[in-house]
């Protein structure tokens, strides 16, 4: 379980989030949606405890599996060694990873579908491959909570699809609380149970995807007219998709 209660964060005179409350129990997935600069990242940081709160309370376990947008170390480590670092919280300051930790790292890589990169250098991988390795690292922490910062932001369509499928396989056993930020409402439709919309004017909207991802709310959120269309999926079932009004109009 992870969440915030009545959280407020100010940067000088600017109030970034105010009185924000939400919680994600184990078994559910939350998508935090909003355009740039509306406090998505601040909310994430506050939730992880990196950002001190000016008011309110943070509810989180000791260890949270955190997947940063990109690994930003200038050091050259093998992917397996990056994943094994996820075990650090269990090892203490003087601890060394043992055979068991490497075993856990291996199976985490397999769960993230990145086992084939185990012996590659992390800094030589592509953006999408790094994301998978970082996700494996978060799984290796053994935490019940996974927090992903803009997991799909730097990915092309193919890799987005792979990532969303992966998120759904991680969701399936319903044994984790998962939170991710995104600017694409379709990601929330495909892989989340709940959504938190960072509305303009600072009154965020938190609720089930079916109730929050609606054309009216999304128009408010992005300031762009929105349409929700129903599409037939590959095996006949219907999917919902969100399109901004400018999509599907052929340029003259």
């Amino acid at each position: 379980m992870i969440g915030l209660e009545n959280a407020t964060v100010r940067f000088g005179p600017r109030t970034i989030i105010e009185g924000l409350s939400f919680s994600v129990p184990v078994g559910r997935t939350l998508a935090i949606l909003g355009p740039n600069g509306r406090g998505k990242t601040t909310t994430l940081k506050a939730m992880l405890g990196f950002q001190p709160l000016d008011a309110g309370r943070r509810v989180a376990p000791d260890i949270v599996g955190y997947v940063p947008q990109t690994g930003t170390s200038n050091q050259r480590y093998r992917a397996l060694d990056v994943v094994v670092m996820g075990r650090a919280a269990h090892l203490g300051i003087f601890g060394q990873p043992g055979a068991e930790d490497f075993q856990i790292a291996h199976s985490a890589l397999e769960r993230a579908g990145a086992a084939r990169f185990a012996d590659h250098y992390f800094d030589r991988l592509s953006g999408g491959e790094r994301q998978l390795v970082l996700l494996a690292g978060a799984i290796a922490t053994g935490s019940q909570v996974l927090v992903l910062d803009e997991p799909a932001a730097a990915l092309d369509l193919h890799n987005q699809e792979r990532l969303l499928t992966l998120l759904n396989t991680l969701r399936q056993p319903r044994d984790k609380a998962i939170v991710f930020t995104t600017h694409d409402p379709n990601h929330a439709l495909s892989s989340a149970d709940d959504a938190l919309l960072m509305m303009p004017g600072g009154q965020p909207l938190f609720g089930r995807v079916a109730e929050t991802i609606t054309p009216q709310h999304l128009e408010n959120l992005y300031g762009v007219p929105m349409r929700v269309v129903e599409l037939a999926g590959p095996s006949g079932e219907t999917h919902q998709a969100v399109l901004p009004a400018f999509a599907g109009i052929r340029a003259a």
């Binding site: 050259r76 601890g95 060394q96 012996d119």
Partner: protein, 354 residues
């Protein structure tokens, strides 16, 4: 099919990696052992290698023996403490450099950057000027080195936390303050007595090494080094992005200062007995990274062995290349600076290439 082939290839990749590491480490250890023995043999009074090895054996098995012959006295009382001290100092400096570069996530920082060396130099210069010698001098050097780190800590701590860049800049500030005071001390020092001693000491030398001095420096070097070695996996974590490291449970700020403290112990002990020796802390970790990679679990031991070997070689050159002793700082700069320039160019060429 491709995935299957890769699954089978993985253990082979790992085995090749292990074989390479083993090869590199045995190479480094051989280099160190050869440098150690050669250094005991060469000099104004040459000793054959077999005799040197025999003397080491005798000295190690029966240290309190009467030293009768001249070669015994030279090898065991003059050269051996010097070589051991050089090896310890080189190992300590290289280890400190490797740890510091990891913690700062910046490959170009070295122990001098925290102002430790200059702070320690101030304590030493002041001590020599006041006519203090022996253990009091060494403790003074050590304490002023620690004071420099504490000062850097106080200056860089803003709103309860210190950013990497402010730490580096504060180190620079403290460093130049101390070096200005050292210049002032040199200016007012007696040119007939204390000035030459200060200048010589500032340039770094193992010429004054005795077993007693080695034993004074050894505890700090060994204890500091042992703690850094225990932190080897933690250094991997601290070398990550701040947020990532914190999410893995690291108290980044506190742990970073713990590493700085250990480095102050190591560098303070080294400066106290052998003056300022630059470049080792930056050149050796880089060379080691090229050999064994960036993982601190392999990088730290490689830096220790290579640093020890390199320092022994440099010191041997310093006392045998010419009739008089060449100050160490001169040779490490002459050898280190070009190597560093080369590494720097290679580093950025590779980065731009990939």
């Amino acid at each position: 099919m491709a995935a299957l082939a890769q699954d089978e290839a993985a253990p082979m990749v790992r085995r090749a990696h292990l074989a390479r590491q083993t090869l590199v480490f045995s190479g480094l250890l051989t280099l160190f052992a050869v440098a150690f023995v050669v250094s005991l043999c060469v000099g104004r009074f040459a000793v054959p290698p077999a005799r040197a090895l025999e003397l080491i054996w005798l000295g190690a098995t029966d240290p309190w023996r009467e030293l009768a012959t001249i070669d015994e006295r030279i090898v065991l009382l003059v050269r051996a403490p010097r070589v051991v001290l050089a090896a310890l100092a080189g190992a300590g400096l290289a280890l400190s450099g490797a740890a510091l570069q990891g913690v700062f996530r910046n490959p170009l920082v070295s122990p001098d950057i925290l102002g430790i060396s200059q702070g320690a130099a101030f304590g030493g210069a002041l001590g020599i000027m006041l006519g203090i010698w022996g253990f009091p001098l060494i403790s003074m050097v050590f304490l002023s080195g620690m004071a420099a780190v504490v000062l850097v800590g106080l200056i860089s701590r803003i709103n309860g936390r210190s950013e990497t860049i402010t730490v580096i800049l504060s180190g620079l500030v403290v460093s130049s303050m101390f070096s200005a005071v050292v210049s002032l001390l040199q200016f007012v020092a007696d040119p007939n007595t204390s000035l030459p001693a200060i200048v010589y000491w500032l340039m770094g030398s193992f010429a004054t090494a005795t077993w007693e001095r080695t034993l004074i420096a050894a505890p700090g070097l060994i204890i500091g080094g042992a703690f850094l070695w225990m932190l080897r996996f933690r250094l991997n974590i601290l070398s990550l992005d701040e947020a990532e490291a914190q999410s893995l449970g690291a108290k980044t700020n506190r742990e970073r200062w713990m590493v700085f403290g250990l480095i102050a112990v190591i560098v303070g002990s080294q400066v106290a007995v052998s003056g300022i020796i630059g470049w080792i802390g930056i050149v050796i970790p880089h060379a080691s990274r090229l050999l064994v990679g960036h993982d601190h679990r392999a990088l730290l031991p490689a830096s220790v062995v290579l640093g020890a070997g390199f320092m022994v070689i440099i010191d041997t050159l310093a006392r045998t290349a010419t009739a008089a002793e060449i100050p160490l700082g001169v040779i490490t700069a002459l050898v280190g600076a070009p190597i560093f320039a080369m590494l720097l160019r290679n580093h950025y060429r590779e980065r731009n290439g990939s």
